[in-house]
């Protein structure tokens, strides 16, 4: 599918057209940060910030909302229980490559047998328009190491690269190609456009320096080797166990389920909400036994999920190197730094 051009002067029309296809979520300012937000009306197009660096929460929230109704019931008997999946047509606009990878990991996790119907139904109802990045947004990012600088195949329907007064549009899926045909904002890309796109890539290659002292393929093993390292205890001394790192992570998906009652104390809904393995009670069972009582064991669990477990289970990266967890951590705990340190830790552990 040949690439096209979206002139920036057509951008507003393009978004307006997208809004006829479903609710559109796009990056907007949330000073001093950014966030994905649903555009309510055409006036909101002016709020879109295609120059955003990185959002607080990843676009995962549109596949796995922080609160979601799984069932609604009417009294304690299961006869009056209904499950309705809210899967509204949605367009995610301006998703950076690392977040495209994040969406891919989320979908992979929820597709595993037994699959989770609601996440998959929402994925099916969602169109994704990616947006290229030319450089790191901060010192905590390490997408070059995690292989998430470029978009994964088949996630973005359209993928935009900013080449001055226009976007270079790559078409990633059949649905993308239909969008290109149905919306008259595009024109075919010419030689000039291709050259500009090439130059963008060259700049990109120069900007994205690797930040880990080893190849990422060794990450799972290095982690395993550092299982007993005191590193985790040392880092945990600063950790508040506040769950910020997992809440902002594009590849975290742990959740809690609970019943929410109406005032009659009989009818209500069963809800799912994001949970965090960093919270103290996460692995506590009735009766009080807690299988990850120590902050250090929870912190290590997260690092292992990110660098090893999710990858092992889904085949997709459990960390996309977006740096959100580290940037938002009040205690400045950096996953990049931890991943850098384990190489030395592993070497030491094995020397003895």
């Amino acid at each position: 599918m040949l690439p096209h051009i979206l002139p920036k002067e057509n951008f507003d029309d393009f978004v307006a057209w997208l809004m006829t296809q479903g609710r559109v979520a796009a990056p907007v300012a949330k000073a001093p940060n950014f966030s994905f937000d649903v555009l309510v009306d055409k006036d909101d197009i002016a709020r879109i910030r295609m120059d955003y660096d990185v959002t607080i929460l990843p676009p995962k929230k549109y596949l796995l909302p922080s609160y979601e109704t799984l069932l609604d019931f009417n009294g304690p008997a299961p006869e009056n229980v209904r499950a309705e999946i809210d899967a509204r047509p949605t367009v995610l606009l301006g998703v950076h490559p690392y977040d495209l990878h994040g969406l891919q990991t989320t979908v992979a996790a929820f597709s595993q047998d037994p699959a989770d119907a609601s996440v998959l139904a929402r994925r099916k109802a969602t169109r994704v328009i990616g947006l290229n990045i030319a450089s790191y947004a901060n010192d905590e990012q390490f997408m070059a190491d995690m292989g998430t600088v470029d978009p994964p195949d088949g996630v973005a329907d359209l993928f935009l690269t900013d080449i001055g007064d226009r976007y270079f549009v790559e078409i990633g899926t059949e649905a993308g190609s239909e969008m290109r045909r149905a919306c008259d904002c595009f024109r075919p890309a010419g030689p000039e456009d291709h050259r500009a796109r090439q130059e963008y890539d060259e700049r990109k290659a120069a900007n994205f320096k690797k930040r880990l002292p080893y190849h990422v393929r060794y990450l799972p093993e290095l982690l395993e080797a550092s299982y007993d390292s005191l590193l985790w205890d040392a880092v945990a001394r600063r950790c508040f166990s506040c769950g910020t790192c997992t809440n902002v992570c594009p590849t975290c998906y742990c959740f809690d389920v609970h019943d929410n009652l109406n005032i009659d104390a009989a009818s209500g809904v069963r809800e799912r909400m994001w949970d965090s393995c960093q919270l103290e009670v996460f692995a506590e069972v009735a009766g009080g036994e807690n299988f990850r009582e120590q902050t250090a064991s929870r912190l290590r669990h997260r690092m292992f999920r990110k660098g090893k477990y999710i990858l092992e289970r889904t085949g997709k990266p459990g960390c996309v190197g977006c740096g959100r967890c580290s940037v938002h951590c009040v205690a400045n705990i950096s996953i990049l730094e931890a991943f850098q340190q384990i190489a030395g830790e592993a070497a030491e552990m094995h020397a003895t």
């Binding site: 940060n33 600063r238 508040f240 166990s241 910020t244 005032i263 104390a265 965090s276 009040v330």
Partner: protein
């Protein structure tokens, strides 16, 4: 299932601003429904009846004078479920600030030579006098938690009252963190359940809902100190709502400060 008799609910106030009782009345959308399912037998702020027959007693306000003890014990005797309602009742709230000033001196500042006309002592949580079954934290209490507790007690289950930090809810709201704006915040050690109310409106969290049961105080000190705050500054922040606890000790094993 046979129609259960309506639970009887009562409200009692001690030393407080009565905002938490008002917060109950502020559940405008639910109020008439609530009244369909429970019977309010005592609510001095809004009704005349006074009854000693109640199942659930909401106690608002701190315990600040010995002569209130008998009233509290009476409520405990009458009620099946006693709920400490709001920061003043749960932790003594900001009334505790006066403990630090020395109660005698505080009274003298206000009432001068006539200070001895009035009775008062240190401010303490209701728990210092009687056992409480549940605590609805906050200054003021969040509406959703009032409803959660009322509904849970009626349904016979344990109310879900969070024991994790305010940051959790703050991130779910996608607020820009105050630390990012160069300010600071007690969110990482304060008990959630308010929906990160203050940070959502640009204010820092003062931990009005008390601390989580196992806060990492070392981290709190380290981090706040990195923001140029001394231990004394931090103590003052804590004290506004949690003066009853020594900052070094989490609520569970904290000794109650007396002056």
């Amino acid at each position: 299932m046979a129609e259960k008799p309506k639970l009887k609910v009562s409200f009692h106030d001690f030393t407080s601003c009565e905002g938490c009782q008002l917060q109950f009345l502020n559940c405008e959308d639910e109020l008439l429904d609530i009244l369909g399912h429970v019977e309010i037998v005592q609510f001095r702020e809004a009704i005349d009846d006074k009854s000693d027959e109640y199942d659930i007693a909401f106690i608002e306000g701190a315990f600040t004078r010995e002569s209130d003890r008998a009233r509290l014990e009476h409520i405990r005797k009458c009620a099946k479920v006693v709920i400490a309602f709001g920061a003043c009742a749960c932790t003594g709230g900001l009334n505790v600030l006066k403990n630090y000033r020395g109660v005698k001196e505080a009274m003298r500042t206000v009432y001068g030579d006539q200070a001895d006309w009035y009775e008062t002592s240190v401010a303490l949580p209701v728990e210092a006098a009687i056992k409480v079954d549940y605590k609805i934290h906050g200054c003021p209490v969040p509406k959703q938690e009032i409803l959660e507790v009322v509904k849970s007690v009626v349904a016979g289950r344990t109310p879900r009252i969070p024991d994790y930090p305010v940051c959790v809810e703050c991130k779910l709201k996608e607020n820009a963190c105050l630390f990012h704006k160069g300010q600071y915040c007690l969110g990482p050690i304060a008990r959630a359940g308010c929906g990160a109310w203050c940070p959502s409106y640009g204010g820092r969290c003062y931990a009005c809902r008390g601390l989580i049961s196992d806060p990492n105080n070392n981290a709190a000190k380290d981090v706040l100190e990195e923001f140029g705050l001394t231990v004394e500054d931090i103590m003052q922040e804590f004290r506004l709502f949690n003066g009853v606890y020594d900052v070094a000790q989490p609520p569970d094993n904290a000794h109650v400060k007396s002056c």
